[in-house]
């Protein structure tokens, strides 16, 4: 496929975020198209390594650029530079090849205490819920909320479920869960309002590792259903797509 056909990134909206950051937005809807644009802008800004920029935070439909403590005039100058860099960023360029990470997970029972409730509310059998959850190749839109927590795109729409009325005070680490039209994995124990379908032993975040987060924006993710006995020995597979 020819790279020259890739669209350039025009049409970004840029706003101030207090005196701490600037925010760029390219769409109003979550999807692969907006994610691709966000990832391209992220890659271009990383490559530019502007000294005035403290951090970059990608989201579903935009990107937040945290600035150092700068006078207002300097912030305005950096904003103009960021605008130029993002406008010149090209989708697909400078983006590392996608990895596909296959994550073993044990569905239902004590590993997925909400599987039965999800089955009942969707009118599907438990086996059918599992089948529909392991079928897609999910895309990591971004990592956020907790260290290593992936926001995944690609959930089967029949599995979308409103969040629990009362959040759990403690969701165990490794829980694979559904919240709204999203699915994700809790890297550490945390309070949470999502429905717990399964549990994995995959270590999503290790601060002592050279690459602390198992997943990164743009990665592909698949789940592989394993039974409770096999979970302990099962390992994450990483295949370059």
């Amino acid at each position: 496929m020819s790279r020259s056909a890739a669209p350039s990134l025009s049409g970004w909206r840029i706003d101030t975020y207090g005196d701490a950051a600037i925010e760029l937005r390219c769409a109003e809807q979550i999807g692969d198209a907006s994610s691709a644009r966000v990832h391209a802008a992220l890659a271009a800004l990383r490559a530019a390594a502007l000294p005035e920029v403290d951090d970059l935070v990608p989201g579903y439909v935009g990107l937040t650029v945290l600035l150092r403590d700068l006078p207002r005039s300097e912030r305005e100058r950096v904003t103009a530079t960021v605008k130029q860099i993002v406008a010149a960023a090209v989708e697909g360029a400078d983006v590392a090849p996608h990895r596909c990470v296959v994550i073993p997970a044990c569905y239902g029972g004590s590993s997925g205490p909400d599987l039965a409730a999800v089955a009942e509310s969707t009118g599907l059998s438990e086996a059918e819920v599992v089948a529909r959850h392991v079928a897609p190749v999910y895309r990591v839109a971004f990592i956020g909320f907790l260290p290593g927590f992936p926001y995944l795109i690609g959930l089967d729409p029949t599995l979308a479920m409103a969040r629990r009325a009362t959040p759990r005070t403690r969701v165990p680490a490794g829980s694979v869960a559904i919240g709204g039209a999203q699915t994700g994995i809790y890297p550490v124990a945390s309070p949470g309002g999502w429905h717990l379908l399964a549990r994995t032993h995959a270590r999503l975040f290790d601060p002592d590792h050279a690459r602390p987060s198992l997943l990164g924006a743009g990665d592909r993710v698949r789940f592989r259903a394993v039974d409770a006995a096999a979970l302990a020995e099962s390992t994450v597979e990483i295949v370059d797509a």
Binding site: Y17, D55, L56, R72, G148, S213
Partner: protein
Amino acid sequence: MLEVIAPGPLTSVQDLGRPGHRALGVPIAGAADADALRVANLLVGNSEHAAGLEFTLSGPVLRFSGPRVIALTGGNLDASIDGEPVPGWRPVALAAGSELRIGRVVLGARGYLAISGGINVKPVMGSRSTDLRCGFGGLHGRALRAGDHLPLGRSESASGRSLRRKRATSQRRFVAASWWVAATGDLRGDVAWLHVLPGPDIAALNPRVLRVLRSGTWIVSRDSDRMGLRFEGPEVPRVVVPEQISAAVLPGTVQLTPDGRPILLGVDAQTTGGYPRIAQVIRADLGRAMQLKPGDRVRPVLVDEEAAEGLRRLRTCELERMRFAIAMRLAED
């Protein structure tokens, strides 16, 4: 080596935090009142980035195995060395075997202790800060406990030499400098005024709700911590708080939760969120905001960019003046 005799309610190793990893969901952590830790470090001749201790509402009891220079900053404190009261906001040279007892934080919520040489725990992702929520960095990723031993760095700075000599040649357990610096940020007053700029999602809110949020006096609630301050306050008109597409949130961001209460995010807060971001506390007020404790009253003051810039300059100048004054004093001492 520093031995923890009693930890206090929440004492942790903190430096200026772990910036640059928010795309991995990693919060900045670090000292909640960063300027207070900066000044404490400068007073003992450390780099501003050295790790010290942050304690909350009340402080720890510590024993020093060797002679060190220390400084206490942050909220106003009751502290003593071997039973004798010790003043804050200045360098203090203490003898080997000294027991430092830090009592209640009288004004503000958090205090800081810097020690010459710094606390030398292993840096994780570029920082010695403790990420209390995720359990890494600092000492074993947790708050201090009785019986912990903290490694201290070598004190290489020449500053405070005469103070240490004075201490060594006297019979006293410690010698405090005769000079001190003024506290950063004024924590006195009935109501704390926090200057805010409009947040990125302010347009999503009903103007009536905004008016209530702005006109009220808010009381810091008990379930406040380094992740965020929650508030009790005026009845907010019952309207649907529209959930937003998850996007970045920052320390200083004020979100409106579905129950109509604002939450002011702190240094340990999550990196992204879906509640509307209605306001952003200006940088100059962030450290002071994190010195608020349960029961304190807060008034939000909406400012424009120009006013925020004026306040930013004032704070930057104050900090710069303090850096200069401390450097001059330490050179003379």
